[in-house]
Symmetry: C2
């Protein structure tokens, strides 16, 4: 018996009022936390992912390895089916050279700590370019400058993440345009390259990479992240010596696309198998460090939720999909592909995606969730907060939920989207850098995140109302 | 004009109802956080304390150095007066030998990671003792054993901290008796020494020291902490080979008492100078590691509160005392002395101690405060919570506040006691071990703690009602 929904109803879904929770739920949640704190496997799984595979940029051999590892683990933990959803991903290689050297008018030669931004082109013919620099804090500052101060130069974008923001993710968002669009803004004013102050509050000598892209109508010029310490030093040197020059050499390259995929473990629902709850993180990572917090943590969280719910004997009413998304870092093709298929399944009346949860903010001590949903569903979600207070979780707010699940928001019936919110002060110290390694992830903190997600998935499965869609049976 | 209170009223204090807060307070609190996040000095101060002085056990030369450092810093930040409150403290030295070696019946020789517990005696004449062992999980288990299983042996107390407790401090409290009283319990059944599984959730090879004491009526036998990894291994080896022997050598020694002191910076109140608000941490630390989280963090928190309140132009109504307590770790003579003097001042009608706050739970991201006060004051305190939600602070609960300020609770008028509650999952990984070093303290996390304390001190100063004590003027 398969259910079909009238297509017209896809545009008028209604979630009906539901019971918010029962007294038995707090005991079940306690058993989930007990299980993770006494027999948690997420930390050991993260060790294997980070130490035996390592970083795993989309398109790389390590990403293929990680796909196999994830498939095996989901099978071992008892998913009913595990499959690969094919996704064609971009491929880019950092190469083996990324150097920047400052030459001062007085003869001093100062090497700088840089690394290529993801998707950047290399320097022409992989050969050094040497030119003067100009330093700005905002993209729009470039347009105000006389062309002789920009043409043929390398632009340093040196706006720090705002330290006064308590939420480090917001501070990151406020400085992101330099990395994402700095090269395009620089090319428009005739510059030959762009250096971007690393997006971190930490004052250190590590460059933090990340995605950038070029507008279609500009020349592609090389772009690199420079460490915060070097950016600060360069700004000081430039004040003393505006004629200083930088020699930049990078041999990164865009390679042909590769077919990889989202790894999906499915646990079939006992009552509403065509209502899909998605939980995931992203399997790909940047190609420096080990992608431990970003997003190894989210991957082992996701897999541990399956193990935990099985361990406490839970039987889901809905179908839960454990999704290891590919290509979050430089394209989000995994998330876009997944939502596209969800839309097709919905249109065909096969499945309706009722909720999705992502962990992509690190493996630190959990503080709660952000939600992006209708008011009705947001209220239901917030009504569960008392169940989480014994675990020091108080953050149940509207907010950003995750790159991979964001495309699902555009489904006509608007599923409930949730993002795990961990403690965030240290996250950008590690993010996209060589420091994002297993040793910085704390076992109990990571485990508490997995139990928090499992508990919330259980509540969603039990209590989220079914979309009020007409059905006919065949 | 000095105020005197009728002595009789000391036993009938009443706090009257007060306004809970004004809209201007949220702006002032915002300016405190802005100041710390843009110009915070706590982290640099902690670097100086931990890296130029290092650990600073009561009675040690380093503790004297830390007292001078604290005095200078409180003066530099503008305390009206800075003075030393003399405190006679115990002195104990770890010596330079603490070894334990397991000798297996099959000839294997296995060195173990141990360190002496604070205040322990050494082995007799600093010479090795070698004997069989017995392993128990509870102190009371010893009394149930046949005497041949205990007499002349070394007892290993091997009860782990309960991993299922979310609050790591509670798990610590639940395992503490082994360290505090294990030697006494062992001596009572004729044992020659005690080894105590380190009080940490972390599975590693570091011994974690800490205070112990002997009952008056037992022989003083040597007691040491053993790493969690070694304790677990030893339990396994003992199952295979109950005749294994341990050779224990320790040359730690109790030395004569030393006069050191609490360092107190006083900022005189503009309106009620005889009402004292105390804020503090403890300057002493254990003699391994650097005492960075325990309690260097609390010390630089305390000092930074003075700097912050001055920086935002605050004028306190009450007198605020910034107290760097001595001897929290092994005797609490600093806290006891301070409360004793407070009681005398109260009796003489000189000063009334209305509130006290301690930071002694690490330099991690703050989550709120524990309170120990009358219901009326607790309600007032909890009414301020909305002011702290923008800073992700939600923990405003009754609970443990701190060893140093605890003796103030016994004052007849019962001051409001508060303890900063930081994120706690990592604390016992470092606590009392060689890993408690500066590098594990995060700048922004530490700074947020200082701003949180400063904001709460401001609210207490502004809004806590004066004790309703009769006054006469002379």
């Amino acid at each position: 018996m398969i259910r079909f929904w009238c297509i017209s109803l896809l545009f008028f879904p209604v979630f009906t009022q539901a019971q918010t929770y029962s007294s038995a739920d707090s005991a079940l949640i306690r058993s989930i936390y007990d299980e993770v704190l006494s027999h948690g496997e997420a930390h050991e799984n993260l060790r294997v992912l980070t130490k035996t595979i390592g970083h795993r940029l989309s398109g790389s051999p390590q990403a293929f390895q990680a796909m196999r590892w994830g498939t095996e683990l989901l099978e071992r933990y008892g998913a009913d089916t595990v499959f690969t959803m094919p996704v064609v991903v971009p491929s880019w290689t950092r190469g083996d050279v990324a150097t920047a050297i400052a030459y001062m008018s007085d003869g001093r030669v100062i090497p700088l700590h840089i690394t290529a931004l993801g998707e950047s082109v290399g320097t022409p013919n992989d050969e050094a370019i040497r030119c003067k620099i100009i330093i700005v804090k905002k993209l729009s500052d470039l347009e105000l400058l006389d062309s002789e101060l920009t043409e043929g130069r390398i632009v340093l974008f040196n706006r720090a993440m705002d330290p006064m923001q308590i939420n480090t993710g917001s501070a990151y968002g406020g400085a992101y345009d330099q990395r994402g669009h700095g090269a395009t803004a620089s090319a428009k004013v005739g510059a030959r390259g762009a250096l971007v102050r690393s997006l971190t509050h930490s004052l250190d000598t590590l460059p933090h990479t990340g995605a950038m892209s070029y507008a279609d109508d500009v020349e592609k010029i090389p772009a690199a992240a420079i460490s915060t310490v070097d950016a600060r030093m360069l700004a000081k040197l430039y004040k003393e010596d505006p004629d200083l020059e930088i020699e930049l050499t990078m041999n990164c390259t865009v390679l042909p696309d590769v077919e990889q995929g989202n790894i999906i473990g499915e646990w079939t629902g006992s009552e509403f198998p065509h209502e899909i709850i998605t939980i995931g993180g992203h399997l790909d990572s940047w190609d420096i460090g080990e992608g431990a917090h970003d997003d190894g943590a989210g991957i082992v969280h996701t897999i541990e939720v399956l193990r935990l719910l099985k361990a406490v004997g839970y039987t889901p009413k809905r179908t839960i999909r454990f999704v290891l998304f590919i290509n979050e870092e430089n394209g989000n093709r995994g998330g876009i592909t997944y939502a596209g298929i969800a839309a097709e399944e919905l249109e065909r009346g096969e499945n309706v995606y009722v909720a999705a949860m992502e962990s992509d903010a690190g493996g630190f001590s959990p503080r709660g969730f952000n939600i992006d949903a209708t008011d009705t569903l947001s209220e239901l979600f917030k009504s569960w907060q008392p169940l989480f207070e014994p675990y020091n979780l108080y953050h149940f707010k509207n907010g950003w939920t995750g790159v991979d699940i964001r495309p699902l928001k555009d489904l006509d019936h608007r599923p409930m989207l949730l993002g795990l919110v961990p403690e965030g002060q240290r996250y950008f110290d590690y993010h996209h850098s060589a420091n994002d390694v297993f040793e910085t992830v704390h076992k109990r903190e990571l485990e508490l995140g997995a139990a928090t997600m499992a508990s919330m998935i259980m509540l969603i499965d039990k209590y989220i109302p079914s979309p009020n869609l007409e059905t006919e049976n065949d």
